[in-house]
């Protein structure tokens, strides 16, 4: 018994440590119960009075994964490809695009950094070529060698991710989520975890929004109109020519006629008269009337087809010079029959969001519609004043992330740099735009590459089923051990209980998160944890059957079982390490509890049960029955 002082000390120490780490979680549970019993008012008062205490308990409590409490997990990727394009700017050429495309493919297939793949691919193509052909900065000149440029690109890449993370953190903070977690993963990904989110769609928009605000002039209505008719005719001819080539002369007639004066209804009538094939463009587009900056309207279901039809390079060439088509943010019509206006705006922006110094969510005084008020800096105000002064009577499109929010007609010159975004669907939307405008623009577009959301009700169900399996699994195994090993089984069950306290203590101590797969890991360890004791007890029984005393049998059992226990557990522990390093999210949760379980069960089975047996058998000359 004397030799056990150290072991007893270790058990007491680890138990105390686990209790220390688990205490806040227990406090948290009792706090939640108390809060739930209170009325609404009482609760708010209580929360205000004990704010710092509640926060500290929450922070130190065992974290529950999003699958157990509901919430949203997204992995976002920063578009390094777009970043490279931005950095190269006007120096980019066909060779650049080709190298970039190959590099992008390679980086995806081989899982290497895009920047490294780009440099490698570039040098492979032409070992003597200089990267400085495409990239310039304060430190990079025409003479800089490729190694310097590569360093510069890498720095730009990491900077972009850091800035993106900052911007996303700002946005999440402004949105208001309790205990959000924002971390980088690898070289180009950001993982955002938001507990208790009830509107994932809004969050998605908020996270992804690049908030590229632009003020652009719009197409000349007359010019737009003739392009529209040319494009309609293009598709008319195309289809008719395929169906029947004899009618080609008639087509030309129409084309000529259409060139001079345009009337959609007339054209439609003639089309119907010609054949029943129809015009693929007119199937999806309701063309706008004359004298408008609107190209036409497209139904929600048809946007993909329309985009495809308009992507034809020949069609693109028919649009007025430097004009592109963008969708309006607000559809006309409702409930499945929504039509999105397609607007013709200049490709180049007159003013961009960088000039915005302040933004505020507000309501229109007459119509009570939500809007965003913006203020510009002096440079922006000067350009805005000149722009509005020179374009009275014309439309200015206010474009956010390539969607037109409004295109008011300029009534008079605006000085002082004030502007507004109207045409917003709700106050939520105006609030979100303000959030995005004020938290800064993302350095490069981000893409959501993985998203997992769990509703709060489902979280409760998962918590309940996790707890249930833990309880049932534990009881069944405990019962079995007592039935099978009698007194020894009871000791093993005690060890099992301590084992679970240790596992939870380790999780809380390392600030790990408990997920449903994590609970599965604990349940599985319960089954495997008794294994160490089973090995020992079987050995003890073997020793007893050779006629040894109880003390000698216990000694022999522990001594001889040790190598098997260690060998068997180390291999499973290795698997845990590998799962942890290659897995993501929930799998890591499983790996952590599996490893914690192995450590805890080794300790409780080898050290703890031995102390008990020594105490009972040697210290008090008692008897333990091994069944």
């Amino acid at each position: 018994m004397q030799g056990n002082g150290f072991k007893v000390g270790a058990v007491v120490f680890f138990l105390a440590l686990s209790a220390w780490y688990l205490f806040p979680s227990l406090q948290g549970i009792s706090l939640n119960n108390r809060l739930e019993e209170m009325g609404q008012e009482e609760r708010t008062d209580y929360e205000r009075e004990n704010y710092s205490r509640i926060e500290s308990i929450k922070e130190k409590s065992l974290n529950l994964g999003l699958d157990l409490q509901g919430g949203m997990h997204t992995t976002m990727e920063v578009g390094l490809r777009e970043l490279l394009v931005q950095l190269a700017a006007e120096r980019r050429d066909d060779a650049f695009d080709q190298v970039l495309a190959t590099a992008d493919e390679r980086s995806q297939e081989e899982g290497i950094s895009l920047i490294d793949a780009f440099v490698e691919e570039f040098e492979r193509r032409d070992p003597d070529a200089r990267l400085s052909r495409y990239f310039r900065s304060e430190t990079i000149t025409r003479r800089s060698d490729n190694a310097d440029v590569t360093d510069y690109l890498r720095t730009q890449g990491t900077d972009a991710i850091e800035r993106a993370m900052q911007v996303i953190r700002n946005r999440v903070d402004r949105y208001g989520v309790t205990e959000p977690s924002i971390q980088t993963q690898g070289s180009r990904r950001i993982v955002v975890e938001l507990p208790g989110i009830d509107d994932p769609e809004r969050v998605r928009r908020l996270l992804k929004g690049t908030a590229r605000l632009e003020f652009r002039l719009m197409a000349d209505p007359g010019e737009l109109n003739s392009s529209l008719q040319r494009i309609i005719n293009y598709y008319e001819v195309d289809v008719a020519a395929e169906s029947d080539s004899v009618e080609v002369p008639a087509e030309e007639d129409i084309a000529e006629e259409a060139d001079t004066s345009f009337d959609v209804s007339q054209l439609l009538a003639e089309t119907e008269g010609l054949d029943d094939v129809g015009n693929p463009l007119l199937d999806v587009l309701i063309p706008a009337g004359q004298g408008s900056v609107v190209f036409g309207e497209v139904s929600v279901q048809d946007t993909a087809t329309f985009n495809m039809l308009m992507a034809d390079p020949d069609v693109q060439a028919m649009l007025p010079r430097d004009i592109e088509l963008l969708y309006d943010a607000n559809p006309s019509g409702t409930g499945g029959a929504e039509y999105y206006p397609v607007l013709a705006v200049n490709m180049n922006a007159e003013l961009t969001g960088d000039v915005i110094t302040d933004a505020r969510s507000d309501f229109d005084q007459t119509t009570n519609q939500p809007l965003v008020d913006m203020e510009m800096n002096s440079e922006g105000a000067r350009v805005w004043s000149r722009l509005t002064g020179a374009n009275v009577g014309k439309n200015v499109a206010i474009v956010l992330d390539r969607v037109v929010y409004s295109y008011p007609t300029v009534i008079g010159q605006i000085s002082g740099g004030r502007s507004q975004i109207t045409g917003l669907a709700s106050q939520e939307e105006s609030d979100d735009i303000v959030t995005v405008l004020k938290s800064g623009a993302l350095p490069a577009p981000v893409e959501i590459v993985e998203e997992r959301t769990v509703g709060p009700s489902l979280g409760i169900v998962a918590r309940r089923s996790g707890f249930m399996s833990l309880l049932v699994g534990l009881s069944i195994v405990a019962l079995f051990m007592i039935v099978y090993y009698r007194g020894g089984g009871m000791v093993a069950d005690l060890a099992l209980l301590i084992n679970i306290i240790f596992i939870l203590g380790i999780l809380a101590g390392f600030n790990a998160t408990l997920t449903l797969p994590g609970i599965a890991g604990i349940v599985l360890t319960i089954g495997m944890a008794v294994d160490a004791n089973v090995l020992i007890f079987e050995r003890v029984r073997e020793e007893q059957s050779t006629g040894k005393t109880l003390k000698a049998s216990i000694d022999g059992g522990y001594g001889k079982a040790l190598s098997a226990i260690v060998d068997a557990n180390i291999t499973t522990f290795f698997v845990g390490i590998i799962l942890y390093s290659f897995g993501v999210g929930p799998i890591q949760g499983f790996a952590v509890t599996l490893m914690a379980g192995i450590l805890a069960s080794l300790f409780s089975a080898i050290v703890f049960t031995r102390i008990i047996f020594d105490y009972v058998v040697i210290g008090r000359r008692g008897i333990v029955n091994f069944g």
């Binding site: 993985e450 349940v523 599985l524 089954g527 993501v584």
Partner: protein, 313 residues
């Protein structure tokens, strides 16, 4: 209470029967995998999964008919049990669509509420994996599996000798292949999702760890008895080792099976495929420790042993 106390089954002698059983199981599994294939989950091929809860019970086939034109592709739809507040079932809708999440979600909700006006559908869970991310998950899992097998092989080689290493790894391949075969055979038949995803890979690695655990305990005893009973033939020593550890083998498998079955029953839909893989794996893993790993060691010993004798003469 005692089971398998002082047994003396001629397990090593009847190993040929074990080979036949394993051979048939392996052939069936390989055949199933080659012919029926494996259902790969969205983790590894990309896609979207929505769990939709509704006020009235919706028929899978009807919902599929409604959603196919809306999504322009036929979605996979399954019932998703025990999620609703009142315990009613929800639907798991899986589509390969690559559009915007919000848009696809809106199409699904719109489509269902148009066709079933009283259903009030709402999305309570989404899993979206982009193709690029899926590629990374696939690569990660591949390395995880490869790494585990390698580490295990090296460890067993270091702690035991090469014959044991080979025996253990043979048993691991045997276990994983047969579990995969069972998945391939039963997919679509069982009422829960049996797709190969991250969780299943974790389950496989756990099976690998467990099967090894079991094998190592027997190997440990063989190592001990080989030194203890030097005069007896190797086969007898191995047979005695297997027999003395048999009781432990069954007790541990039993307790582990009990907890895994508990997980299967009470752990909810998310863990069902995972715990099912573990159930199969633990049964096969226990069997393979006795009938695959150990016989391989005996065969290898016989060969190299007789070669040594031949060399001495």
């Amino acid at each position: 209470m005692r089971i398998f106390e002082n047994t003396n089954y001629n397990l090593v002698g009847s190993r040929k029967r074990g080979y036949a059983v394993s051979g048939i199981l392996l052939l069936l599994s390989l055949g199933a995998i080659l012919i029926r294939g494996l259902e790969i989950g969205i983790d590894f091929r990309g896609g979207m999964e929505f769990v939709v809860e509704s006020d009235e019970i919706l028929e899978v086939t009807e919902v599929r008919a409604v959603l196919t034109p809306v999504l322009e592709t036929s979605p996979e739809i399954k019932t998703y049990s025990d999620v609703g507040a009142e315990g009613q079932d929800a639907l798991l809708i899986r589509t390969a669509s690559e559009g915007e999440t919000s848009e696809v979600q809106m199409l699904i909700i719109q489509g269902i509420s148009d066709a079933f006006p009283d259903s009030n559908p709402r999305v309570i869970k989404t899993d979206i994996v982009g193709p690029r991310f899926a590629e990374d998950l696939k690569r990660g899992s591949f390395y995880a599996v490869l790494g585990s097998l390698l580490v295990i092989f090296l460890y067993v080689m270091l702690r035991f000798e090469w014959r044991f290493g080979l025996g253990a790894v043979a048993a691991l391949f045997h276990d994983v292949l047969i579990t995969l075969g069972v998945f391939s055979l039963l997919q679509g038949i069982m009422p829960f999702s049996m797709q190969i995803d991250q969780a299943i890979i974790a389950a496989f690695l756990t099976i690998v760890g467990y099967s090894l655990n079991d094998t190592v305990v027997i190997f440990d005893r063989i190592r001990e008895y080989t030194n203890l009973f030097k005069t007896e033939p190797y086969k007898t020593v191995v047979n005695r080792s297997v027999n003395t550890t048999l009781s432990r083998t069954f007790v541990t498998s039993g307790t582990t099976l009990l907890v895994v079955a508990t997980l299967f029953m009470f752990g909810g839909e998310v863990l069902r495929g995972f715990s099912f893989a573990l159930i199969i794996g633990i049964i096969i893993g226990t069997y393979s420790s006795v009938f695959v790993a150990t016989p391989v060691v005996v065969e290898l010993y016989n060969r190299s042993g007789s070669a040594k004798k031949a060399g001495q003469r």
